[in-house]
Amino acid sequence: MKSKRLEIDKVASFLRDGMTIMYGGFMGNGTPPRLMRAILDSGVKDLTVIGDDAAFSDATKGPEGIGLLVRNKRVRKMITGHIGLNKEAQRQMLSGEMEIELCPIGSIAERIRAGGSGLGGVLTPTGVGTSVEDVPQDLTINGQKYTKKPVFTINGRDFLYETPLKADLAVLEAVQADKSGNLVYYTSMRNHNPLMALAAETVIAEAHQIVEVGCIDPDHVMTPGVLVDYIVYPS
């Protein structure tokens, strides 16, 4: 079996300016810290990043997560549900330095799931009648152009159409990985990680612990190893 082990200083070979990166984590909990640092150290810029939120700008409150790349101006666009606890992300949004597409978190999760599951998108009641409808779109449905999210009335109920999301790279944090890439997450650190494992061209997981193949009960595997391309071992 080909080794999936990736040295942290080799992460840069998967990075390029302008790429799209999905990052696991919810308020930084479940965002891989060493991978964030490696992306920063690579010098890559103009990134589009997709994830739950912008985590904390106050390091005493919680992990900085994606905020590390935001603070260092590596992010051109962010698709996310919440930036309220990251003052720098708010500042960059209001000054126009960074584009932020706000999307309800449940819709982000389903858009990622759709992207990773080969589905054509999501029809959700969330956001109907709100400014979420107005996010600019470049969509053609049945030959018709849409510049905002279309609403479909299906059997009398309104649903907003949300496009699927995919990425060039997903970076995940797992509490345990076996050498084939089977992943186990810890409590609230799971969040978007398993969904993103399906939705990116290349998937790199940073693990707190590495075990031999066969040590994780198949019933306990939360992300099948076939989805994980590379594993960063603990330092």
Binding site: P63, I83, L85, P104, I105, T126, Y186
Partner: protein, 227 residues
């Protein structure tokens, strides 16, 4: 309203009586979180944390440092998971909300209007934190309880039509303030309860929305836990 307790505490104590033993509930950040402190004896809730688990427990005595695997709530603050809790990914977590699997959610509010519309996530030009999970919660919970002070520095918050960006349309079930409790019945706003010492005229003076006064109008009761 009792002199000894704040408006927020009064509201939280009233909402504590709205929830039933065994209910699966999501409490929003801020005032709604206080509700858990006033649940009457015999009422145990299964509290959902939108970041991916059921069974929010107390803050642990020893806090695991940032960077180590640890349990946090949706605000990123350390907490624990009670026995019987369960963990899952974000799609399941939001399926619980959107799919109608929560008995109730309690949300803060900036504005509510006659059409049961809610605005609670942004003030243009001032604060744009993002909607987070608020829209999914408001759209999907079986009962949407809004906890908010009746007015904001004299400005009315229960309106004919919300003028702040909406969180969800037509989804509010109940509004609890320090002056009154309203419920929506068949799309109509109905005043059902008034706070001690508050008249219907007082409530009307602080409310822009038209409302019906229930024929079963009564004084608000609150949870007395710890008083």
């Amino acid at each position: 309203m009792s002199e000894q307790i704040s408006a927020k505490e009064f509201i939280a104590r009233r909402i504590a009586l709205e929830l039933n033993d065994g209910d699966v509930v999501n409490l929003g950040i801020g005032l709604p979180t206080l509700v858990a402190n006033y649940l009457p004896p015999g009422v145990t809730l299964m509290l959902q944390s939108e970041n991916g688990f059921l069974g929010i427990g107390p803050v642990p005595q020893e806090i695991t440092p940032i960077g180590q695997p640890r349990v946090v709530n949706a605000g990123g603050a350390p907490c624990s998971i009670i026995p019987g809790g369960s963990t899952f990914d974000t799609s399941i977590s939001f399926a619980l909300m959107r799919g109608g699997h929560l008995d109730a959610c309690v949300l803060g509010g900036l504005q509510v209007d006659e059409n049961a519309d809610l605005a609670n996530w942004m003030v243009p030009g001032k604060n744009v934190p993002g909607m987070g999970g608020a829209m999914d919660l408001a759209v999907g919970a079986k009962k949407v309880i809004v906890a908010m002070e009746h007015t904001n520095k004299g400005e009315k918050k229960i309106l004919k039509k919300c003028n702040l960006p909406l969180t969800a349309k037509g989804r509010v079930s109940t509004v609890v303030t320090e002056l009154a409790l309203f419920r929506f019945h068949d799309g109509k706003l109905v005043l059902e309860e008034y706070a001690p010492g508050v008249s219907v005229e007082d409530i009307r003076a602080g409310t822009e929305a038209a409302f019906i006064v229930s024929d079963k109008l009564k004084e608000m009761e609150i949870s007395r836990v710890g008083l």
